[in-house]
Symmetry: C2
Subunit: 205 residues, 2 copies
DNA sequence: TAGATTGTTAATCGATTAACAATC
DNA sequence: TAGATTGTTAATCGATTAACAATC
């Protein structure tokens, strides 16, 4: 994972910067400085400037950064200056919440297909979505040219679902199943396992 | 954040190891080796051994690790060899999914109180939970001695909720709101913003 | 014993930070 | 101009990895 040039860890921080810029804009701010962002995010201003310097010069000495401009640049870098179609596999409680999560649409990620393999659910509606048969994953994904998928199935079936998705052409997977997936090089995976996050905190309690 | 001794980044990997051990046990395995774990998790065997060496010697030369024993040790280290009560703030779609997420209970994290400030929801049932008034957060948290909270409210109210929680004695927050929280030293925060994870992948597409 | 794998050391690699010249 | 803040360099810090003696 990760192209040769910019470290993954830097890429990983850009969405956080982007989120902070959105926040500042909503507050009515037009200009910010690395120090202001640093204070808000709890990281050093030097790191923010260094991270940004991988991609260009976006600020002005003595002044700081024009928020709207920097945001636009970050959006281009992250390729979120466009709309992305997303496939969702798993129509349980979690899938339901994901399908109806407003922040996805607000940020240009649109769930356009929901799959489940439970015969009782296939064909039924979940909110505004018609639940599709998991069997149709390959054809639907290929026909619609979807590149991003979200896995919200039990751990037992997650690897198999991932295999099917990758085979169908998916290149980025957001995995909610509590299991490390095995995928070929070039396929991105990000993990969301809330239990892991809780366990990272109990150590300190 | 982070005590002096063991690096945060090491603590962060322990839950992943623990998850893998559970998986191996379910597969019926009794013994494993750092190399086997490494292959499964996509990290180096040296790193796994080094991480574990911060806490003791859990393996046997020539053989590897007794899975059940290593799991027990990790559970003790992470303090997940016990049950934890959790408060949930926000009874929307997301809160609903969180409250009913089976993996929490299965891993010793028990949602014992659900709060919302919407008068239409207060007093109503959400699954097996009676929704409590956010106003009662301080008293309920203190009376029940809850240390861990999950925030599932809109970004606009998340900081205010966090302040209330911290004031009430919460020491670990799992934050689903897309905003970086400001909390005093000693209070743990972990973030789950699915949009951030998606944006970390689009860069590579 | 021979083979395998740990725990640990030392080397390497990479990330963060401090500091400051450049400049708005 | 004086003050502020960037972009960047070099130094520091920390994490990862390679290698191997110890030993099961």
């Amino acid at each position: 994972m990760g192209s040769a040039d910019v470290p993954d860890i830097v890429i990983g921080r850009l969405p956080i910067y982007l989120r902070a810029l959105n926040f500042l804009l909503e507050e009515g701010k037009e200009i910010t400085a690395s120090q202001e962002l640093a204070d808000k995010l709890g990281i050093s201003s030097a790191q923010i400037r260094k991270d940004l310097s991988h991609f260009g010069e976006f600020g002005k000495q003595g002044t700081g950064y024009e928020i709207r401009y920097l945001r636009e640049q970050l959006r281009k870098i992250l390729k979120v200056d466009r709309e992305w179609d997303v496939a969702l596999v798993g129509a349980g409680d979690l899938g339901h919440a994901i399908a109806h999560y407003g922040n996805f649409d607000r940020n240009g990620f649109h769930v356009v297909a929901v799959f489940d393999h439970n015969p009782r659910k296939i064909g039924a509606k979940m909110g505004r979505f018609r639940i599709l048969d998991s069997e149709s994953i390959p054809t639907v994904i290929q026909d619609m040219g979807i590149q991003i998928a979200i896995i919200a199935v039990p751990a037992e079936s997650a690897q198999q679902v991932a295999d099917t998705l990758v085979e169908a052409g998916i290149r980025a997977i957001l995995n909610y199943a509590p299991i490390t997936l095995n995928v070929p090089p070039g396929v991105q995976v990000q993990y969301i396992d809330p239990v892991v996050y809780l366990q990272r905190m109990t150590y300190y309690l």
